[in-house]
């Protein structure tokens, strides 16, 4: 068994017993259960769950992960003093945090769906995309949290940065894009707008869900543009690839910070 697996196993064991993770899972369980009971398991249910996921997953992941990295500071130092490589330790700590959060999300949404007979078959693809997108967002924002906590020595400042990032990507971004659209409405701005969508993982996730669900209600302005350009099979693939990039880049940055940090 590799060092990474050993760290992940111990970290997961710790996380599975934490109240936060249980609460997080319970939240999605109750939400999904409630939505299915009230509105069935059609596209409407997926839509409601998607709006909640796009807001809650980045927020909870950023806050929990950042706090966790700060709280684990002393233990991380103890592990660094063991005969293991820093790169392995980083991978272990990262996966040990991201995987329990992902399993909380998957279990929270998946269990009620399974309990209700697996959901509407026509809707299954959208449901799977929803869970996969939530998982991708978890991986992205866990990586960003590591980066924040390694950058800011002060935990309050780190938490502030984390919340600021969430406000920006989750709430303010679409509004800012709309302002830009209004300001530059006389120019051909579709392509810059597309680039703006790539610059925000939450927007990207929203677009991916939209393309899969084929509904306009969730769309921000960037989503509308994206759909026009990328309707067809290439669109979702491209958006998924970009999400992958959004995992890889912050993770590489975090790993580099971790390797060079003086603890």
């Amino acid at each position: 068994m590799s060092v990474v697996t050993k760290i992940v196993r111990a970290q997961t064991r710790d996380a599975m017993r934490s109240r936060w993770l249980i609460g997080y899972t319970a939240f999605f369980f109750l939400l999904t259960e409630g939505v299915i009971r009230f509105s069935g398991d059609g596209p409407k249910a997926v839509l409601t769950l998607a709006s909640a996921t796009l807001i809650v997953v980045p927020l909870v992941t950023l806050v929990l992960s950042t706090i966790h990295v700060y709280n684990a500071r002393e233990f991380t130092e103890l592990l660094l003093a063991q005969p293991i490589r820093r790169s392995s330790l980083f991978k272990g700590l990262y996966l040990g945090l991201a995987l329990p959060l992902v399993s909380g999300l998957v279990a929270g949404i998946g269990l009620p769906v399974l309990l209700h007979g697996g959901g509407d078959p026509a809707n299954r693809g959208a449901m799977i995309t929803l869970v996969a997108t939530g998982a991708a967002l978890t991986f992205i924002f866990t990586a960003i949290s590591f980066s924040i906590a390694l950058f800011a020595e002060d935990r309050l400042r780190g938490l502030g940065i984390a919340l600021g990032i969430w406000l920006l990507v989750g709430l303010l971004y679409d509004g800012l894009v709309l302002v830009a659209v209004a300001l530059f409405s006389d120019y051909p701005i579709e392509r810059p707008l597309l680039a703006l969508t790539f610059a925000n993982p939450v927007d990207l996730a929203r677009v991916l869900l939209l393309l899969k669900l084929d509904i306009a209600a969730l769309m921000g302005y960037t989503g509308a543009v994206f759909q026009r350009v990328f309707s067809g099979p290439l669109g979702p693939t491209f958006a998924a690839g970009m999400l992958g990039l959004w995992i890889a880049v912050p993770l590489a940055v975090g790993a580099r910070q971790f390797r060079r940090k003086d603890f």
């Binding site: 050993k6 996380a15 063991q82």
Partner: protein, 237 residues
């Protein structure tokens, strides 16, 4: 054998270490003393590879540890100043995790565990243990894997007098077995009891490194505490 030479460390504009030299011979106990911010913890962290020095060298048994792989740490037992562990694990799960990571196959040294009578606490989550008990777990973890070099940062902070005595006895018996020990502390009586040598750091520079009795005779003082105080007064004046 630890040889630290001309060690410097700069954090931004702040020079924490400005030239630390000290040598700890095999089987000896070296105490590191100095006021807060003198650089004691930074020296320890550099030795453990938690921190990369700006310049200078650290050699263990003649081989530089800088820029090398992590394997040298297999011989080091480290007891950090603050003991914080994953809250929901039990002490025995923690021991198992670290043992797993170190890939230790051999027998573990559980003598301190027995000395502290910690067996009854091993299966409780670490979160419910008192600060002192966690510090005992911390000490046991450092000694568990039969290290040949023991690095202790304020080891008795938070321990009751009895536990503190048990730990000190164990450190002395390990020294008799040939284990090298480096211990940073503010408690001079404790260092006097444990150490052969002492290094006095001030503002990131070694002001004295050598046997304790040499220090007391140079400063013409009766004990370590007064000798260090005399050194500090001399430095300030």
């Amino acid at each position: 054998m630890i040889e630290i030479s001309k060690l410097t460390k700069r954090f931004g504009d702040h020079e924490v270490l400005r030239g630390v030299d000290l040598t700890v011979a095999r089987g000896r106990v070296m105490g590191i003393v100095g006021p807060n911010g003198a650089g004691k913890t930074t020296v320890i962290k550099t030795l453990l590879g938690l921190c990369q020095p700006t310049s200078g060298d650290i050699r263990l048994d003649g081989r530089s540890i800088l820029g090398t792989e992590s394997s040298y740490r297999a011989h080091i037992g480290y007891m950090p100043q603050i003991a914080r562990f994953p809250e929901n694990l039990t002490a025995s799960e923690l021991f198992e995790m670290v043992r797993d990571l170190r890939g230790t196959k051999g027998v573990l040294d559980a003598s301190l565990l027995r000395g502290f009578a910690l067996e009854s606490q091993l299966d409780k989550p670490l979160r419910v243990l008192s600060g002192g008990t966690r510090q005992k777990v911390n000490a046991c973890l450092a000694l568990l894997f039969q290290p040949s070099l023991l690095v202790l940062d304020e080891p008795t902070a938070g321990l009751d007098p009895l536990s503190s005595a048990i730990l000190k006895d164990r450190i002395l018996s390990l020294r008799a077995e040939g284990v090298t020990v480096m211990v940073a502390s503010h408690i001079m009586s404790e260092l006097e009891e444990l150490c052969d040598d002492v290094a006095f750091l001030l503002d990131g520079v070694t002001r004295f490194a050598g046997p304790i009795d040499q220090l007391t005779s140079i400063t013409r003082q009766a004990n370590l505490e007064r000798a260090i105080a005399a050194l500090m007064i001399r430095e300030v004046a």
